[in-house]
């Protein structure tokens, strides 16, 4: 297990290096530091001197990859790539381009708020969609199945924006069941502020989830071991909830990682609408302020999390299915 993990993390490194290079090229070749300075300082009425000062202040005046004016180790360290991009591997995100705040500190402050929103949505939607999918699969090829399927496709076809705007209007403004927006990290108040966004996030993920898990269960139901279980006289409920569920865990796990990007995307909007000071609203603020450093850091952090999640899923494969050995 340990050897496998080490190797898997070693494999992840070239990928992260690729991500790093891609982001670097995007932010420092396609969009040069000078462009960046002009965008942030304002295109017009900015002197060359101001631009130079800004670049020096942020260490963007250095050459990109190789600094020939310095002696050996500094030839490579006194460059934008080393200072700005390689630091990401050590989670040194540096400072913001717009107001010079420390990005790492800001991230540490915001991550718990994002997690407080994402975790309940994640687990509640997993539980509810799987349960609902099994019920739908239980009534397969009946009228209930058909209606449920059409409802799912309809729910998938509606933009998350509608659920958020509609939900906020109906429950918070019209019925006054929850605060419209706001946040308080203290425990009992937290629930009050999170309940509506979590509920809306749940609604938004149900359609796609139920439909997807239903296909997985239907696939399992047509397999030989299920026929055997039925033949020896087990009830349909036992077959479905004991035998099929256990075997469907593997494809379910795969879907769980697929849903992680969706989680980020959904939370971006939810945090924005409900005023939760997490990573999502940080991104939206950065977009508004054209803060390139923040977006660069987030893109890298996002892929680290994604790759990490992939590794966790692979490890958990071996727990869900003893036939899989990690070698």
């Amino acid at each position: 297990m340990f050897a496998y993990l080490t190797r898997r993390i070693a494999y992840a490194f070239p990928i992260l290096l690729g991500v790093n290079l891609l982001v670097f090229v995007l932010f420092f070749y396609v969009n040069t530091p000078k462009n960046m300075a002009e965008t942030i300082l304002g295109e017009k009425r900015v002197t060359q001197e101001q631009i130079d000062n800004w670049l020096r202040e942020h260490n963007y005046h250095l050459p990109r990859f190789v600094n020939l004016q310095e002696r050996f180790p500094s030839t490579f360290t006194q460059t934008i790539f080393w200072q700005k991009s390689m630091g990401l591997f050590a989670f040194r995100f540096g400072q913001s381009d717009v107001d010079n705040h420390d990005i790492s500190a800001e991230l540490r402050k915001r991550i718990p708020h994002s997690v407080a929103l994402a975790l309940p949505i994640f687990f509640a939607s997993l539980l509810i969609t799987i349960a609902a999918a099994m019920i739908v699969a239980f009534y397969r090829a009946t009228y209930i199945d058909y209606v449920a399927l059409v409802t799912c496709v309809l729910m998938m076809s509606i933009s998350l924006l509608f659920y958020i705007i509609g939900g906020q209007y109906l429950f918070a403004i019209h019925l006054r069941l929850a605060p419209v927006s706001g946040y308080d990290a203290q425990f009992p108040h937290l629930v009050k502020f999170l309940i509506l966004p979590v509920f809306i996030g749940l609604i938004g993920s149900i359609g796609g989830g139920v439909r997807y898990y239903r296909t997985i269960f239907l696939e399992e139901i047509n397999k030989d071991y299920v026929r055997t279980a039925r033949a020896k006289g087990l009830g349909e409920g036992t077959v479905l909830f004991k035998h099929a569920l256990r075997n469907a865990l593997l494809p379910i796990l795969t879907n769980v990682i697929v849903s992680i990007p969706f989680l980020i995307m959904g939370n971006l909007l939810l945090e924005n609408f409900f005023g939760i000071p997490g990573l999502g609203s940080y991104m939206i603020e950065a977009i508004g302020k054209q803060d390139f450093a923040v977006i660069r850091s987030m893109a890298f952090l996002g892929s680290v999390l994604y790759i990490g999640a992939l590794i966790i899923v692979e490890v958990s494969y071996s727990i869900a299915d003893p036939r899989i050995r990690l070698q």
């Binding site: 070239p14 990928i15 992260l16 690729g18 991500v19 891609l22 982001v23 995007l26 932010f27 396609v30 969009n31 496709v153 309809l154 998938m156 076809s157 509606i158 933009s159 998350l160 924006l161 509608f162 705007i165 209007y169 796609g208 997807y212 296909t215 997985i216 696939e219 494809p251 879907n255 697929v258 992680i260 990007p261 980020i264 995307m265 971006l268 909007l269 924005n272 991104m283 939206i284 977009i287 508004g288 054209q290 390139f292 977006i295 660069r296 987030m298 893109a299 996002g302 892929s303 999390l305 994604y306 790759i307």
Partner: protein, 373 residues
């Protein structure tokens, strides 16, 4: 280059080429019996026929809206206005499309500001003068009472017209993007799966790197660097959907290349390029088609979100996302101005729901085992 691309006849030529390719693909597929029988199964259900009809209608509107022209300016006596020195005809600077021409009455029904659907009076109150010169506060009558099916927006444009104009943006992002990336996905996916070795490693590396950045973050990074706009959005959405399709096609090619008919072709000395494009690619087309239709709806929905957070299409492009974005302040008013938001959402569902239903039917008929998110 940008100048050339912005010319209306270049744009029209692109539209003609795209429509031509679509018709050609349709004709090619309808010649094969496998596809004909699959299509008979797909179109056997009424809900699919209805979905297809709606999609065709949306496509027609989008194509009509893409064919542009500029009107020549005329003098007051009706003769063409010409440049005094070069003697060339002068054209109107803002282009129109065929859809604009068809919707001229709708386009010209401008009001001063907000009005509710089918309302006879303006939504906001203002000071009115009656015949005797007395002033009252009230809602003035509209210039076109009870004619705005979906009401008007802040600057008095008809919301139905805006929603119809949004179709083109949605269709370009949903459909045109796919047409752009499909050739690349097929080329790279099949090459990687067929040749294996270092080519496979390289292509796998490229798409793994691209797909390791969560797509939303990649799109945001790309759009913040290149700025808002429809072409940029199409390219980056193309890249994010390319990775998934490429991966599936590579896996499928790996399976196909071991099959007997491919081995037989190899034994007979058929050239590799011919094997790839004549023996393998046709057997992947169903996957391409299913993925194209099913990923369509995801992109239409994503456009709205991106335009909403301010990195989608530019402010000068009418899209459902920017309509929803406008609706943000309108919802904070009391009484609520809901029609622009609802119109954009209903038009979106009207496109996404049939696309999903049609995609599902295609998958059930062509490859029920293909798992799609």
């Amino acid at each position: 280059m940008t100048n050339l691309l912005n010319n209306w006849y270049v744009k029209d030529a692109i539209v003609a080429v795209v429509v031509g390719i679509m018709v050609w693909i349709g004709l090619m597929l309808s010649r094969r019996e496998v596809w004909r029988s699959a299509m008979r199964q797909v179109f056997g259900r009424r809900i699919v026929r209805v979905s297809f009809a709606i999609l065709a209608l949306y496509t027609l509107i989008a194509v009509l809206d893409s064919v542009g022209y500029h009107q020549p300016l005329r003098n007051s006596d009706g003769s063409l206005r010409r440049h005094p020195e070069t003697n060339r005809v002068i054209f109107d600077s803002d282009g129109r499309s065929l859809l604009d021409l068809l919707l001229t009455p709708l386009r010209n029904m401008e009001e001063k500001t907000y009005s509710a659907p089918f309302s006879a009076t303006q939504f906001t109150k203002e000071t009115l003068y009656d015949d005797e010169g007395k002033t009252t506060r009230g809602q003035p009558p509209l210039k076109h009472p009870r004619r705005h099916v979906l009401g008007t927006d802040r600057v008095g444009n008809d919301v139905l017209y805006l929603s119809l104009k949004g179709i083109r943006t949605g269709m370009i992002i949903g459909g045109f993007t796919t047409l752009l990336v499909i050739p690349f996905a097929i080329l790279f996916g099949v090459t990687a799966g067929y040749f294996r070795g270092w080519i496979d490693d390289l292509i796998q590396y490229i798409y793994t790197v691209l797909s390791s950045i969560p797509s939303l973050l990649l799109i945001i990074s790309f759009m913040i660097v290149f700025g808002r706009g429809l072409p940029q959005l199409c390219i980056i959405m193309g890249i994010t959907s390319w990775t998934g399709l490429c991966r599936v096609l590579r896996g499928e090619t790996l399976k196909l290349r071991e099959l007997e008919y491919v081995q037989a072709a190899e034994a007979m000395g058929v050239r590799r390029a011919r094997i790839m494009f004549q023996h393998i690619v046709p057997n992947l087309m169903h996957i391409v088609l299913i993925t194209a239709v099913l990923s369509f709806s995801g992109r239409v929905l994503a456009e709205a979100v991106l335009s909403y957070i301010g990195i989608g299409v530019g402010a000068d492009t009418i899209s459902w996302g920017s309509m929803i974005n406008d609706a943000r302040q309108e919802l904070a008013r009391d009484p609520v101005i809901w029609w622009k938001l609802i119109a954009a959402l209903v038009f979106m569902v009207g496109l996404v729901l049939p696309a999903n239903l049609f995609g599902d039917a295609l998958r059930d008929a062509l490859d029920p085992r293909l798992r799609t998110e």
